[in-house]
């Protein structure tokens, strides 16, 4: 019997698709060039010409949000992609090696978790300078540690199942058993975790860009837009709303997508998880 897809999966997928579509559209078209400065049209409220108004340089806010979506997605994708590349093999290795490998991954995890991703990013930018690359590195490191831990836990559970023992008894090596039996069985859990980490990466990138340590101007970023808007809260309060809504909807979409995927893959978990 086909299981019904959870509502959160529908809503999450729709919001995430909207975000991706906006980012892709910004490659082809934005209402105005996102970096076009028009000082005579600065801090305008929303109008027919500028649907979300203009910022303190007279730049079109909607265009900046569209390009900001692209930047957020790029940072998130790079941070999660690198995290997957580093964390999943490490977690699989730890599970396959057993006690000794386990201990190493657990201690490495403890170490990385001692530094919240934002703190690592601050440390890196203090030494290497502000910029998206250092932010991606810091977030990827944190993601790799989380994914290694999740992969290890899930892989250990699969290793204990009889069919893996049977495969080993039939002469399959640990590497082959990992690739053929373990990896396909934990892929769902890893994808769910990666989706949540994507959302966390978007929030952290925004926070770091707000501090001026992330994506550098003139390239628009939602976090920096909020930082700039704070200076003009009296005159243009709406400018402090739109980029925040963009961040919140993206994070909401991705977390709901993650929740929905988990519910769909494992119905016992229905609506009970954290983030």
């Amino acid at each position: 019997m086909r299981r019904r897809l959870p509502l959160s999966l529908h809503l999450g997928a729709a919001l995430t698709l909207l975000l991706v579509a906006m980012a892709l559209l910004s490659l082809l078209w934005t209402p105005y060039p996102a970096e076009q400065v028009r000082v005579i049209a600065r801090l305008k409220p929303p109008s027919a010409a500028h649907w979300l108004g203009t910022d303190h340089f007279g730049r079109d806010v909607l265009s900046m949000i569209m390009v900001g979506a692209r930047n957020s997605l790029a940072v998130g994708a790079a941070a999660v992609g690198l995290g997957l590349l580093g964390g999943v093999p490490l977690g699989l290795l730890a599970a396959a090696l057993g006690r000794w490998g386990d201990e190493v991954v657990a201690r490495l995890g403890d170490l990385v978790f001692a530094f919240p991703a934002v703190l690592t990013a601050i440390l890196l930018t203090a030494v290497l300078g502000a910029g998206a690359v250092n932010v991606v590195l810091a977030l990827a490191l944190f993601n790799a540690a989380v994914l290694a831990r999740v992969t290890r836990g899930a892989a250990l559970a699969v290793w204990r199942r009889p069919f893996v023992g049977a495969a080993l008894a039939l002469g399959r090596g640990p590497l082959s058993a990992t690739l053929v039996h373990v990896l396909p069985n934990i892929a769902g859990i890893v994808v769910v975790q990666a989706t949540v980490l994507f959302a966390v990466a978007i929030v952290n990138e925004a926070a770091l860009s707000y501090l001026g340590l992330g994506i550098q101007p003139p390239s628009p970023s939602w976090g920096r837009m909020l930082g700039d808007a704070q200076t003009y809260l009296f005159t243009a309060p709406l400018q402090a709303v739109f980029p925040g809504v963009a961040i919140a909807l993206s994070v909401m979409g991705l977390t709901m997508l993650g929740d929905g995927l988990r519910d769909w893959l494992d119905p016992r978990h229905r609506s009970s998880g954290v983030m």
Binding site: R107, D110, L111, F113, A114, F115, P116, A117, V118, L119, I122, L123, L124, T125, A126, V127, L128, A199, V203, N204, A206, A207, Y210, L211, L213, G223, L226, A229, Q230, L233, F234, P237, A240, V241, G244, I247, A248, L249, V251, M252, T255, M256, S271, S272, G273, V274, M275
Partner: protein, 316 residues
């Protein structure tokens, strides 16, 4: 239990030691001469030489690490270049803002999350549950620094109830200081409360499904009493675990939110130190924050192990 405590202590020491190596090593990644980076290209040669001496740049890297780690163990974090004062002194001063801020936000988030989580569990599948889940989803999605800006917009600029930033210090009394810390603490607390409310709801629902609850109900214990006296205490272990994990997010959040409200706390000190290229301050504050996170996580682990009635082999 003793074995668990010993193992946790050893792992704590190893993590602290590795964290100190990481912070020290990252600071070695500075391209070129760190002293030149901190003082700028127009620095006098003798000032440069003095700073190189203070940072031990003329010595082998291992000696430098041992000296730095030894000083760190004695509570000596070096002398700030910008403030010309010991970093430890600056940290203690700034903790007078950051620590109350963090504690206040923990109190607010727990005070919001426990009743909301209980309410959602008690009204599972009904309006109250959906409202709490909706609040939780919204809270998780909104970054604390955006909430901070919205709070300023509403409570400071529109209603004029709270200051939009700054800190009067504790000298003028507890009232004005707490007044200045309330909005930042609320901004930090709301996303935490959103996560905690969900964890509480799940933990209470899990507990409600257990046999001893059914027994209590069968013996005639009322619904509210079962929730408060049986389900909630049992649900506190997972809630405390998540609360412990949230500490690291709280530290990161405080760094950003202190800057939104220009609060003179550790986060602001760290942020300004980056701008001033005061790597000695950056190094000191980051290593302290990391140690704080590690120690809190270890304490939460130990507290949960002590509170968990199951055999220790299972809980560790």
């Amino acid at each position: 239990m003793l074995a668990f405590l010993l193992r946790r202590l050893v792992s704590l020491i190893v993590t602290v030691w590795l964290a100190s190596i990481v912070v020290f090593a990252v600071l070695q990644l500075v391209p070129g001469d760190p002293a030149l980076l901190m003082l700028g290209v127009n620095a006098q040669p003798d000032t440069l030489a003095a700073l190189r001496g203070q940072m031990g740049l003329d010595q082998p890297i291992l000696t430098r690490y041992l000296q730095w780690a030894g000083a760190l163990a004695r509570g000596d974090l070096g002398v700030s270049l910008t403030y010309a004062r010991p970093v430890a002194e600056l940290v203690v001063e700034r903790l007078a803002v950051t620590l109350p801020l963090a504690l206040l936000s923990l109190v607010i988030s727990t005070a919001l999350a426990l009743p909301l989580g209980l309410l959602a569990a008690a009204r599972r599948g009904r309006g109250g549950d959906w409202a709490v889940l909706g609040f939780s989803q919204l809270g998780v999605s909104m970054p604390s620094f955006w909430i901070a800006i919205l709070l300023i917009l509403l409570f400071s600029l529109t209603l004029h109830w709270f200051p939009a930033g700054g800190f009067p210090g504790w000298g003028g009394g507890i009232g004005p200081a707490l007044h200045a810390l309330l909005l930042p603490a609320l901004a930090l607390a709301l996303p935490e409360a959103a996560i905690l409310a969900r964890v509480t709801r799940t933990a209470v629902l899990d507990t409600l499904a257990e046999d001893h609850i059914r027994t209590a109900r069968a013996k005639g214990v009322g619904r509210a009493a079962v929730l408060l006296r049986h389900a909630l205490p049992n649900a506190l272990i997972p809630v405390a675990t998540v609360l412990g994990l949230q500490i690291s997010f709280l530290v990161a959040g405080a760094v950003v939110v202190e800057n939104v409200f220009t609060l003179p706390g550790l986060g602001r000190l760290l942020y300004q130190a980056i701008g001033q290229r005061d790597l000695i301050v950056v190094q000191g504050v980051v290593v302290l924050l990391a140690l704080f996170v590690v120690v809190v996580n270890a304490l939460v682990d130990i507290a949960c192990a002590l509170a968990d009635p199951r055999p220790k082999g299972l809980s560790s």
